[in-house]
């Protein structure tokens, strides 16, 4: 009766290639993305650092799991997760999650010529993409119904632009999606929509949609409401294949997001420990007080565990299948709480200074809490675990 008693022995370590990638990304971010620059940028009208994204793309970060034949790095979600960890550690305001994870894994799962064309553009860094679902969408959410697909050429109400890649669209999209991450700077939108034939996944040139930025709790990850008003759209998958591709993207996103959250938690822990070694109160470093030490020890334990859990989810995502969904849910259920705890402890243990705008901790607190809600809250993921690990809810009369 127990859930899968002997899981595959997934590789939970980082190999040399992954450590090399980490070092490159970290070094670039240290140069180009110190927190002071992030804080300054997010108060402008252009919170996303498009130039930095192009530099990351030049290192291959924009298309890590994209095959080499499409100009990608030909790596896997394991390497993608390593990049996410470093980008999380820097709260980098780049469209990695929306473009290089969610849109990319949706297109990879869909496959076919149109998807390949879009993947090549993403991997090169020419444009970024967004998956047009609310960022809070959990992997086991029913297929979205707010955008409708209609076959035939764009009508008079649509944008006059035809797709930039020169190929004709097969139909149009109409509807609205709120809370889409990384949409404002995207060139391509990957849009789940329903037509007469059921669910489909469509490619839309972003400038044929209307994107209304919303003020985001996480200053470093802008959200937008995206409206389609007869926008030209090209299908990349239809029917069950579309639902599968979307599910794969959300599961992969949840898995990789856990590594981003791990990066956030690691930053919070490390920064707090460093601060408390040098902050004196009562004639002693604050970090020498036992209650503080024990809390940081507990946090270190949680972060160590988050590393194993996130690594496990990334490795499982490479293989896919139901085990990947369970491991992604596990990762979100565990690492969301850990990252929020780490950021909250960072604020608290920094004392007053951690409560100010001029200290970086709040950027991480906001990212941690927003990440915990992104792709489903820990609570939602625990319900997924209940289903996949055969631990059914109680039957209880209200």
């Amino acid at each position: 009766m127990s859930a899968d008693p002997v899981p595959a022995d997934l590789d939970l370590l980082y190999d040399d290639v992954e450590e090399g990638l980490r070092a490159s990304v970290r070094s670039l971010l240290a140069d180009r993305c110190p927190w002071s620059a992030v804080l300054e940028r997010v108060e402008t009208d252009a919170p996303t650092d498009v130039a930095l994204w192009k530099e990351l793309a030049a290192m291959g970060v924009a298309g890590l799991p994209v095959p080499e034949r499409l100009g990608g790095a030909g790596a896997t979600l394991r390497e993608t997760a390593v990049a996410a960890e470093e980008l999380g550690r820097a709260v980098a305001p780049v469209p990695f999650l929306g473009s290089a994870v969610l849109a990319t894994t949706a297109l990879l799962a869909a496959g076919g010529e149109a998807a390949d064309g879009a993947l090549a553009r993403l991997a090169s860094g020419e444009v970024s993409a967004a998956l047009a679902v609310p960022l809070a969408t959990a992997p086991d959410t029913p297929f979205p119904q707010t955008v409708r697909y209609a076959p035939g050429a764009p009508g008079s109400t649509s944008s006059p632009d035809s797709p930039a890649d020169g190929r004709a669209a097969s139909g149009t999209l109409t509807g609205e999606v709120g809370g889409v991450a990384d949409a404002s700077t995207a060139g391509i939108l990957v849009v789940p929509a329903v037509g007469a034939d059921g669910p489909g996944l469509y490619l839309v040139e972003a400038d044929s949609s209307v994107r209304l930025p919303v003020t985001s709790l996480d200053l470093t990850r802008p959200l937008a409401t995206v409206r389609f008003d007869g926008a030209a759209a090209r299908p990349v998958a239809t029917g069950p294949a579309a639902a599968d591709a979307l599910h794969t993207a959300l599961v992969s996103g949840a898995a990789v997001l856990a590594s981003e959250q791990l990066g956030v938690a690691e930053w919070a822990l490390t920064t707090t420990v460093d601060y408390l070694k040098t902050r004196y109160q009562f004639g002693r470093p604050v970090g020498s007080f036992q209650a503080v030490k024990h809390r940081l020890a507990d946090l270190w334990v949680a972060v160590s565990q988050a590393r194993a859990v996130a690594r496990n989810a990334a490795s499982a995502a490479v293989h896919g299948g139901p085990e990947a969904a369970l491991d992604a849910a596990l990762a979100q259920a565990f690492v969301s709480d850990t990252a929020v705890l780490a950021a909250e402890e960072a604020v608290q243990l920094h004392g007053g200074i951690g409560f100010t705008w001029e200290h970086p901790t709040h950027l991480y607190l906001k990212r941690a809490k927003a990440d915990a809600l992104a792709l489903g809250s820990a609570d939602r993921h625990r319900m997924t675990i209940a289903r996949l690990a055969d631990l059914p809810p109680a039957q209880w009369e209200a």
């Binding site: 108060e43 609310p134 960022l135 809070a136 969408t137 709120g178 809370g179 919303v214 003020t215 985001s216 709790l217 996480d218 200053l219 959200l223 004196y280 109160q281 009562f282 004639g283 002693r284 007080f289 209650a291 503080v292 929020v340 909250e344 604020v347 608290q348 004392g351 007053g352 200074i353 951690g354 409560f355 100010t356 705008w357 001029e358 901790t361 709040h362 607190l365 906001k366 809490k369 927003a370 915990a372 809600l373 992104a374 809250s377 820990a378 609570d379 939602r380 625990r382 319900m383 809810p393």
Partner: protein
């Protein structure tokens, strides 16, 4: 005392009725009403006559306040008066000269003069006694230099209660003196301090060669730490002021959401909600019990616990609110740098609740300091080995 018989509750109520009959709250100017109330000894009934009181038992004050409320008088405690009423007034009463009482208490009570508190410094937070702002004697006055922080109301205040170091050669607790500082003095510069909410609720105050007359000293030179204890104790006591109905606190943010938005409910968050409801109710009843103890003249040590509990509950409620809202919780209202607009806490956006409550465990004594106070003063556990108590302040590591 004009009244030979000690004041009892019935007599107190009669005095209030008599006063209100003579000063109709609907037609009397609010400041004039309060000034007359002060003169009648009904401001702080336990203060001496001439200082706003009648030298009567402190336990009568809630009765008097309730009777004023019943008869239509506006509450005395209003936005902007919290430091003056709660901290400055009892300190001036306890340590002030008759001239000081006469000068400061009445306009403080009527709200004509706003007060702020200049205690914390960037290097002296939890370890307040480590403060480094210097006050050097110069004839009949003192010259102050230093920086204070976490000062609410400084930009509106006429007066500040302030502690500064007058003898750096003594151990840190013994070289401090306590002053009343005119915030309009030359050399006082108030700069807004922006918090992680985006708003500047507090200030930094820079003191450059600020001159304070020795007549504005409270208590003896070098006795400032002891005077400050009175201030801080009153800060914590004021918490248990009035009875609160069930769900009267921050918990209402999530109970109302739960009742009015059934689509947000999940089984896991139900359990979290119920646990928080129980905790909030336990904290409320504990505060009510403390109120009853105070009214019965049996003050208990539970006051120090209330702040600790409410900080945690407020933070957990605000976190749950975001978890319940999911995608809606990913947004914010406005990050621009500004002063608070005076909107009630409950009406702010959930993201603000989440961020602002993080300060509850830092401001007015961190939760860590409160735990130490409870352990040592209530439970009588031994102090940590201290190296900073007998060393000259100037020789302390920092």
């Amino acid at each position: 005392m004009t009244d030979p018989a000690p004041l009892d509750a019935a007599a107190a109520r009669a005095r209030v009725a008599e006063f209100v009959a003579a000063h109709d709250p609907r037609t009397t100017d609010p400041a004039a009403f309060l000034g007359a109330r002060f003169d009648a000894g009904l401001a702080w009934v336990h203060f001496p006559e001439g200082a706003g009181g009648l030298g009567a038992p402190r336990a009568l004050q809630p009765t008097i306040d309730a009777e004023f409320a019943r008869l239509g008088a506006a509450p005395v405690q209003r936005e902007g008066l919290v430091i003056g009423l709660g901290m400055a007034a009892p300190t001036i009463l306890a340590f002030g000269t008759p001239a000081q009482r006469y000068r400061y208490l009445r306009p403080l009570y009527t709200g004509e003069e706003v007060w702020c508190q200049l205690f914390s410094e960037p290097g002296a937070g939890s370890d307040l006694a480590a403060l480094g702002t210097r006050a050097v004697r110069d004839g009949d006055s003192w010259i102050l230099n230093g920086q204070k922080v976490w000062t609410s109301l400084a930009h509106r205040a006429r007066w500040a209660i302030l502690i500064a170091r007058t003898d750096p050669d003594l151990p840190k607790h013994r070289g401090i003196s306590y002053f009343i500082c005119d915030m309009h003095s030359p050399g006082v510069e108030v700069r807004p301090l922006r918090q992680l909410t985006g708003e500047a609720e507090f200030n930094e105050v820079y003191l450059t060669d600020v001159r304070i007359a020795d007549s504005q000293r409270l208590g003896e030179p070098g006795e400032g730490w002891r005077v400050a204890q009175t201030t801080l104790m009153n800060e914590r006591v004021s918490i248990a002021g009035h009875a609160e109905p069930r769900e009267g606190g921050v918990i209402a943010l999530v109970t109302e959401l739960w009742r009015t938005r059934p689509e947000l409910r999940t089984p896991g968050l139900h359990d979290t909600l119920l646990r928080l409801w129980v905790d909030a109710e336990a904290a409320r009843l504990t505060k009510e019990r403390l109120r009853q103890q105070l009214a019965a003249g049996q003050p208990g040590p539970e006051g120090s616990a209330a702040k600790l509990s409410f900080a945690r509950i407020n933070q957990e409620v605000a976190g749950l609110e975001l978890d319940l809202l999911g995608g809606e919780g990913l947004t914010y209202d406005d990050w621009s740098f500004r002063r608070p607009a005076g909107i009630p806490f409950a009406e702010r956006v959930p993201g603000f609740h989440y961020l602002r409550t993080k300060g509850n465990s830092i401001e007015g004594g961190t939760s860590e300091i409160l735990r130490t106070i409870i352990a040592e003063r209530v439970l009588g556990l031994p102090a940590e080995p201290r190296t900073d108590k007998d060393t000259a302040w100037k020789d302390l590591p920092r």
